[in-house]
């Protein structure tokens, strides 16, 4: 595990992924989008809550995207509800939203759908960065959205990944769109053991 922790490429990968995501999002929203990775860290799965920019009492919108291939795992985007709503609003410019919601949630069904696609683009960037770096073919599953307290959201993904690895990789990022400053946490939870094995020549 320590070998992976020393790797400089973790930050380089975050940079590469963020550039890829920013280019994709700029095309998607028709505005200049900048993505900054404020920090990247390898953390024990049971300490994830200490590295995300949310408190245990905070409610968030989480979008999970599973992936499989030579490395399996999950990626999770965590948004404050107001940030998620703001971003969905940008994506929905010029698109009719009847603001229907199945159970009185903060986000309408259409806003949720937009946020799912946004998260799909973001996580694709990070998952592809792994795939490029390690020369792997990874396949993503459809994204799933959940609106809950942060510990509940994270616990769900922790349960899945803890079966494969005791560690995960966390990126604190900011998305800058025109005069808006929208923050989100991205957790990429690959099978770290498999990554170490691949990087050491299999």
């Amino acid at each position: 595990m320590l070998a992976l922790g020393k790797l400089v490429w973790l930050n380089e990968m975050g940079k590469k992924a963020s550039e890829m995501v920013a280019a994709s999002l700029s095309g998607m929203v028709g505005m200049d989008v900048t993505m900054e990775v404020a920090s990247a860290a390898i953390v024990a799965v049971n300490e994830i809550l200490n590295v995300v920019e949310f408190g245990p009492e905070d409610v968030a919108v989480g979008v999970y995207v599973g992936f499989e291939g030579e490395i399996g795992g999950s990626a999770l985007c965590l948004y404050r509800p107001e940030d998620g709503k703001a971003f969905a609003g940008i994506l929905l410019a010029g698109i009719e939203d009847d603001h229907s919601s199945s159970d009185g949630k903060i986000l309408s069904d259409m806003e949720e759908s937009a946020l799912l696609e946004l998260s799909n683009v973001i996580t694709s960037g990070f998952i592809d960065a792994w795939a490029d770096e390690l020369k792997l073919a990874l396949t993503q599953h459809p994204p799933a959205l959940v609106h809950d307290f942060v510990p509940a959201i994270v616990e769900q993904i922790m349960t899945d990944i803890a079966q494969k690895s005791a560690y995960t990789i966390a990126f604190n990022t900011r998305l800058l769109v025109t005069d808006m400053n929208i923050g989100l946490d991205i957790l990429v939870l690959p099978d770290v053991t498999a990554i170490e094995r691949l990087r050491s020549g299999r």
Binding site: M20, S24, L25, G27, M28, L91, L92, G94, I95, E96, D109, M110, S113, A114, L116, E117, N120, V121, S124, G125, I127, D128, A131, A137, L138, T139, Q140, H141, P142
Partner: protein, 117 residues
């Protein structure tokens, strides 16, 4: 002007595609998974189908295969995400005539449709 059918499990993506296409083409049908797409194709007989690859129940590749079996001249364009090259290859083998990569940009979508008409 062509008759287009949109197949994507994302309501947002279908609406986004409608926004791009509405001035030049007619949307004659929509489906949110592959099973519905196969049924709708029979009803709508579109000139072109824009088909997402990753969908619940029946994915876009299986739906393409089924449609092509009964309509070998169907024109199906796959909608993919970055990193789905293997799936694109499988979709082309299933009979798709082209593909566009998400996130979409209007001019690229229109250009791809024109290229298969």
């Amino acid at each position: 002007m062509a008759n287009i059918m949109l197949v994507d499990d994302s309501k947002f993506m279908r609406e986004l595609l409608k926004k791009f296409l509405s001035t030049k083409h007619t949307i004659v049908g929509e489906a949110d998974d592959g099973t519905v797409a196969v049924e709708k194709y029979e009803e709508c007989k579109p000139d072109v189908v824009l088909m997402d690859i990753v969908m619940p129940h029946m994915d876009g590749i299986a739906a393409t295969r089924q449609i092509m079996r009964s309509h070998p001249d169907a024109k199906i364009i796959m909608c993919t995400s970055v990193g789905q090259e293997k799936k694109v290859k499988a979709a082309i083998e299933a009979g798709a005539v082209g593909y566009i990569t998400k996130p979409f940009q209007g001019p690229n979508v229109l250009k791809e449709i024109e290229s298969v008409l």
